[in-house]
């Protein structure tokens, strides 16, 4: 029974320049206690994917097709009040920039207690301040912050980036979601802190049985804690499979190029192989396969028609090379 099931999802933005199709017929699943890494460049639609699961798309976006089934409920056609109910307690999303993630004018304790209060309201529990405070302290300890009482009395600007991200993860834990969506949670942090936060997420996944959807542009980060990896390009799924599989033997040319373009710091003379070309115009995307202008293996059919998904040995690839 999967926590998240996305089928043929289409999400469009209406902009002054035209209609932008940010997600084009995307299908994938996230199972219980499973973590899936969503990897792609800026503009690949990965952030939009995260926002669309929790119904936080901006006003100029719309669900133009397909479905998102979160814990058995259809998200795209819900009313606003229903969406409000499932947000947070079913799926919780955390964002990239720690400096802007917490309300600067309120203390940490206020903001965390508010999360508990809202959860109680949604799940029909009674809210008791003392009990809630104890729970908050416990969760702050869970995210490996020493001296929870001290942190609670602080304002966000008095915390470091890593601490803020942990507090937000604590906030997520307080809401007890089935799915945690993390949009570039470590991109703004130092490398050492990055590793700590990722390990924390991994441990919590095991402790709480929480599923994780990790959105990142850094494929090595995805490899770090994901069970499966999905590679996105120009709003489409181009490859999906187990983390080991995708990294060791990528199938789609884009995935291959992505992995090859990671600087191999250890070997000095290893060639740097950037992907030629630039990201596509999402309002007037290329015809046929959206990757074809940059693909080293491009064939005639790639230019004419969009390739369909090929399912092969537990992997999904969208490329004419495989069928």
């Amino acid at each position: 029974m999967s926590v998240l099931e996305v089928r043929d999802l289409v999400v469009e933005y209406s902009t002054v320049y035209g209609v932008l199709r940010a997600i084009n017929r995307l299908s994938f699943e996230v199972g219980e206690a499973e973590s899936v890494g969503v990897v792609g460049e800026s503009g690949s639609g990965k952030s939009t994917l995260g926002l669309s699961v929790v119904r936080l798309l901006p006003p100029n976006a719309r669900y133009a097709g397909g479905s998102i089934i979160l814990d058995g409920q259809e998200v795209t056609r819900m009313s606003n009040s229903e969406a409000r109910r499932i947000r947070g307690t079913t799926a919780f999303m955390i964002f990239q920039d720690p400096l802007n993630s917490l309300n600067p004018v309120k203390k940490v304790s206020t903001q965390l207690l508010e999360a508990v209060e809202m959860r109680c309201k949604k799940l029909g529990e009674t809210y008791d301040v003392e009990k809630a405070t104890r729970e908050v302290v416990e969760k702050i300890r869970d995210v490996r912050i020493p001296d929870p009482e001290l942190i609670m009395e602080r304002y966000p600007h008095q915390l470091s980036g890593g601490q803020i991200q942990r507090v937000i993860i604590a906030m997520a834990l307080l809401m007890r979601p089935k799915l945690l969506i993390a949009d570039e949670p470590t991109s703004a942090l130092d490398v050492t802190i990055q590793a700590q936060v990722l390990k924390l997420m991994n441990d919590l996944k095991k402790e709480y049985g929480m599923s994780i959807m990790l959105i990142t542009h850094d494929i090595s980060v995805a490899y770090n804690i994901s069970d499966r990896i999905m590679v996105m390009y120009a709003g489409e799924l181009v490859e999906l499979g187990s983390a080991d599989g995708v990294i060791r033997s990528p199938m789609h040319p884009y995935a291959k190029a992505l992995i090859a373009s990671i600087p191999r710091g250890v070997m000095r003379d290893a060639p740097l192989e950037p992907i030629r070309g630039s990201p596509p115009n999402m309002i007037h995307p290329p015809s046929g396969c959206r990757f074809h202008p940059r693909c080293p293996f491009v064939m005639d059919v790639c230019r004419r028609e969009e390739p369909r998904e090929v399912h092969q040995d537990g992997r999904v690839v969208r490329c004419y090379l495989y069928g």
Partner: protein, 367 residues
């Protein structure tokens, strides 16, 4: 109170005092540049442009105008701190007395205008932010462009013409119904004896100052007829001032709200499940409003400048009206006194705004 907050407060106060001293210095320099010789200075202090030389000499002696400049400056500063602004040429009473009677009236007008401007600005700004790039947004932008560009006197005239004369909704001029007697400020204070002796003077002065504005005096006195009439007469002038100045508030509120609504903590609030209203008018607004506080000082300056013109049009007998008279009569002493008093008020308003800002934004007071 934490140490850092205390330090913040002290720094702000010192800043205000220093700016005030510099302001006085600036005025001193300007006056002495315009009138470099003791005789020229005496002409200024004389009160009328055609002063007999004998009287000029008397003035030079009296005000010590031939003393070396630093000494004069020291005297000047000391005088100002004692409230000695000289004797008004028209009314022949100490300038301070005239200002003391008229300033509260104008302050009442200016602060009311400021409050109106902030309210109108916050409302229209939020409206524009919520309806970005929408006809509502464009209308708001057009409105504040026009009101910002209109000279104060035009707004005053139009309001007076339509609301007072044509529609007869509100009175066109005056402080209050002239048949009613003016209320007086509170001079006696029953619990005064409780306070130690030296403080009594300051306290009674403070109480007197606070209860001087006509509306407050009327309320304290229980004179409700005057209160209502005064309120009636206050609306149009305050509205005129507010209309010309709300534009900056609208602009900043709109930008600030748009910025705040984009922030991740707003998304996080939605994530917790707060209702849209609570997030927009609670979290986002609370954060967006902070920069507006810095506008208060600017608005105070505008409103004061506008008050000069508005009091003339509406025959509202406060400091502004007095300024117009002083200009007409070339009453230099009064004009200098008014300038310094206005400067002090603006600096004080700045200080209040700084303190408010420190209260509202923890990032500033907790370094």
């Amino acid at each position: 109170m934490q140490i850092s907050t205390l330090i913040y407060l002290v720094r702000r106060v010192i800043n205000a005092v220093v700016t005030l001293l510099l302001l006085i210095f600036l005025i001193f320099v300007l006056v002495h540049t315009i009138a470099p010789t003791p005789v020229a200075l005496a002409r200024i202090y004389c009160g009328s442009p055609h002063c007999p030389p004998a009287e000029l000499q008397v003035i030079i002696q009296q005000y010590g105008l031939s003393l070396p400049l630093p000494v004069q400056f020291a005297h000047y500063v000391v005088n100002i701190f004692h409230g000695n602004f000289g004797t008004d040429t028209l009314y022949k009473v100490p300038e301070l007395q005239v200002i003391g009677e008229l300033l509260p009236i104008t302050l009442e007008l200016v602060i009311t205008g400021l409050i109106f401007a902030v309210i109108i600005g916050l409302f229209t700004g939020s409206l524009a932010a919520a309806n970005r790039n929408n006809p509502v947004d464009y209308t708001v932008k057009a409105v504040y462009l026009v009101t910002w560009s209109a000279p104060v006197f035009l707004v005053g005239f139009i309001l007076q013409l339509f609301l007072a004369y044509e529609l007869k909704l509100l009175p066109p001029s005056g402080l209050a119904n002239p048949t009613l007697g003016n209320p007086s400020p509170v001079t006696g204070y029953p619990y005064l004896s409780v306070v130690p002796q030296p403080l009594q003077g300051w306290l009674s002065g403070l109480v007197r100052a606070i209860t001087s504005p006509p509306l407050i005096a009327a309320a304290v006195d229980g004179d409700w007829r005057f209160f209502v009439s005064g309120l009636h007469h206050l609306v149009l002038p305050a509205l005129a001032i507010a209309i010309t100045s709300f534009g900056v508030v609208t602009r900043l509120t709109r930008a600030s709200m748009i910025d705040a609504l984009d922030r991740d903590y707003v998304k996080l609030s939605f994530m917790k499940g707060l209702s849209k209203n609570r997030v927009v008018y609670g979290t986002a607004f609370r954060n967006a409003v902070i920069p507006i506080i810095t506008l208060i000082a600017l608005l105070f300056g505008f409103s004061t400048a506008g008050a000069v013109v508005i009091e003339d049009i509406f025959q509202y007998h406060g400091m502004g009206y007095f300024t117009v008279q002083a200009i007409y009569n070339l009453d230099y002493i009064a004009i200098l006194a008014i300038t310094i008093v206005v400067g002090i008020s603006v600096i004080a308003a700045n200080l209040v705004a700084d303190l408010l800002y420190g209260w509202a934004d923890p990032r500033v007071r907790l370094e």
